[in-house]
Symmetry: C2
């Protein structure tokens, strides 16, 4: 396995090529940090974009949804052409000029054909990966799915092959003639932060809060 | 103006209809809180999803991008069929069973035809709205765009008409037979939190940090 994804026509940037990368580890880090993927597909010629939970296992991206959703039904019939976009917003970039305002972000875009996972073994492993992707350490602190639950869940599989990563980092890029303006310029970093865990009303108060809840954070510690 | 968007075939849910709303104020609140919209469109029959900055002005959604991007070029030729999806992740829902794990979220999906904003007056107002949408109060603390910058920026306009909101709130919904399991169950709330502002290296240290930076938070105070 090489350390970069191959470049295709669809993953060649139309602008700002310096922001684009195909580095496998960098792509994986973004997919692993994000909680939600935006999955685009075409129905009756029109675009549809749905947020789905995802988990990466090697070079496979699993997408989770209920068996009832349109996207998942469509994927059962031989696969569905999808664009999966995963975006992390790292900071607001405030420049002296309105024009140079920007956002620091990391965005993975993957193209390919999503197919329904039919093998119970693969589906079981994918569901474990989905729980772990959202809350590392959680899968051993929960009841595993039974046969009925497995059947009621649809998991899509997308092999990662046509993938790119676009990243903006750093401060504002103001024009030289604006540098003496009095406006504040810089970056306001943004993070996804957990609040205080809210125990379910129907759980005994004596139930300890597990480490995977107390210590949850993004990016996850390695 | 009514207080709800009209329901269409595309905005009729295929499942969990109790989670779906068409309430105009609730839709607007989600659009106004989110920083990024995922915009889906079709190129050569295949889906493409890009993250774009957005701003809502009444029942118009403006989308921002560079004039070079494919999506924006396509929109100039008479409009482009888009699906704009805006998702806020409010919490991780941890159930006793893996199957009932979920996420609390608010997601707006808008369908329609995006067109390029050609009027300099409307484009200027849209750019001010885009800056204000990301950082309320910022537009008076920055240099306004000049004619050249206006020409170099493409703004798309989507009239909000075919719109729905899907929301999950509350704790886990475990099965009765799982209630005595020892696993912790509940919600881990998630918020987008600002870090310490990082002034640009080339700004005089004496420049005060403005209130719109110090007080930035989501949702914005009304």
């Amino acid at each position: 396995m090489t350390d970069a994804y191959a470049i295709t026509a669809r993953t060649t940037p139309s602008r700002l090529p310096s922001r684009v990368s195909y580095d496998r580890a960098a792509v994986h880090a973004v997919l692993d940090e994000a909680l939600v993927a935006h999955v685009g597909f075409v129905i009756d010629g029109s675009p549809v974009v749905l947020p789905l939970l995802h988990a990466r296992v090697g070079d496979v991206l699993y997408l989770h949804g209920s068996a009832g959703a349109r996207v998942l039904r469509a994927a059962r019939d031989g696969g569905m052409d999808v664009c999966v976009t995963v975006t992390l917003t790292d900071g607001l970039v405030l420049a002296r000029s309105a024009f140079h305002h920007s956002i620091n972000y990391r965005c993975v875009i993957a193209h390919g054909t999503a197919t329904s996972v039919d093998s119970p073994t693969e589906k079981d492993a994918a569901l474990t990966a989905l729980v772990e992707a959202a809350v590392p350490g959680r899968s051993v602190g929960t009841r595993e799915p039974n046969r009925k639950e497995l059947a009621a869940t649809t998991v899509l599989r997308l092999n990662l092959g046509e993938v790119s990563l676009k990243v903006r980092t750093g401060g504002p890029s103001d024009d030289p003639e604006d540098m003496d303006m009095p406006h504040w310029a810089g970056v306001l970093p943004l993070t996804t932060t957990p609040g205080r865990p809210q125990p379910a009303d129907d759980m005994p108060a004596s139930t300890p809060t597990p480490a995977h809840v107390i210590d949850w954070r993004r990016p996850s510690p390695k």
